[in-house]
Point group: C2
């Protein structure tokens, strides 16, 4: 781990452990530099990272302040780390419905930027949170990047495996949200009624080098779907 990441983790841990409240001021830059025996640019990078993560906010000429906001029981929509790491406080399990190697749909091929005769891993799962259905998930993984999956892996955290097992670096992602009504099949898997509300999210995940590797379509159980999001100001 790079030093500024280490410093960021230590500051975040300090905020958590001391239960600092929204708006509480952190020590000034010079104090942090002395405390972590780090240069100004390293501490600044650590603080920028924490600001991106929504842990602090910086007010020019005034200082660095704690940002707290998370209502409990809400799922962070933009963690980009997969649910499992996001939902540490919850009991999350998966039931694998389908897992195979196949040709992508036209839509998946287009999104993954691959030929229609390429191979993808197709995974269909129902995910449970504290024993309730959370979502029905269909994912298409570019097999030339995610070269191997099996039942044991996909019953757990696929993203953990991709990072730790395959050593891939996950980058940015694009999310598209819709609200609609459940069809019969979706309702059956989620234990709801046809016509009930649904939140439908399509996500295209990219590696850090910009290659899309996972096109995923997720239908959420509206009774379990509480999400939070943060917006940072980046005014042009």
């Amino acid at each position: 781990m790079i030093k500024y990441q280490q410093i960021a983790i230590e500051i975040e841990t300090y905020i958590e452990e001391h239960k600092l409240q929204q708006g509480e001021k952190l020590p000034v830059l010079e104090t942090l530099m002395a405390q972590f025996k780090a240069s100004k640019s390293t501490v600044t990078k650590a603080l920028d990272l924490l600001e991106k993560k929504g842990v602090v906010f910086q007010v020019r000429g005034s200082g660095i302040f704690v940002r707290r906001h998370k209502r409990t029981g809400y799922i962070g929509l933009l963690s980009n780390q997969g649910f499992t790491s996001e939902l540490e406080d919850f009991q999350l399990t998966s039931e694998v419905i389908e897992l195979d190697v196949r040709k992508p749909t036209q839509e998946a091929a287009l999104n993954l930027n691959i030929e229609e005769n390429s191979d993808v891993y197709y995974v269909k799962r129902v995910r449970y949170i504290n024993g309730q259905t959370l979502c029905l998930e269909e994912s298409f993984y570019n097999k030339s990047i995610v070269t191997y999956l099996n039942n044991e892996i996909v019953s757990q955290s696929i993203f953990h495996y991709i990072k730790e097992g395959l050593g891939l670096k996950i980058g940015f992602s694009d999310l598209y949200l819709h609200v609609g009504k459940l069809n019969g099949e979706e309702a059956k898997y989620l234990g709801l009624k046809e016509g009930d509300p649904k939140l439908f999210i399509e996500t295209l995940f990219h590696l850090a080098n910009g290659q899309p590797f996972d096109f995923s379509k997720v239908t959420y159980n509206y009774e379990q779907s509480q999400f939070f999001l943060q917006a940072t100001s980046h005014v042009l």
Copy 2:
């Protein structure tokens, strides 16, 4: 405007006008420094801003690449600039249902971090996109910050007025999303049926100094609700 912001705008405009595609490589840092007659740190700040905005992505040791993703007809959930600037391509209008000064609800007072006997501006609007109902919006503005509103202002872009008219600097915001079913009143305003799906978003907007100034509760017409979101990698 600060120089790095100016450079960011010029790069973004260049990408738009030349219709550069996802993955196209931008000139190297040295070329951009020469082109904009700017220091390395200024160009780096411009690129960091564009990365936050989702306009480019940087691959260490490899370069800066164009990020394009936006499906047309999707509303950016995290623009934080208010809809009007986000939806330039659409015809957006508002019908004001209520506008008055009142005491906040307990919930609004808690979120805005004010006493329950303080004054807030309460605004209830139906917003239309291309003539269709987009959402029903209820907002509570801390009157000691947003000191004046009238019917003409709230029929247009309130955020534009807050920035340009009142000279306030808008900072970060926290969003909470739920999916549920419309009640009778919501259905009436949106022209839908009771029990139809709804997306419900509560947002707490803060000034750049961290003060919350607007607590807003918005119920979306599911037939018009297509949102996109970007996640950037900021792994700890």
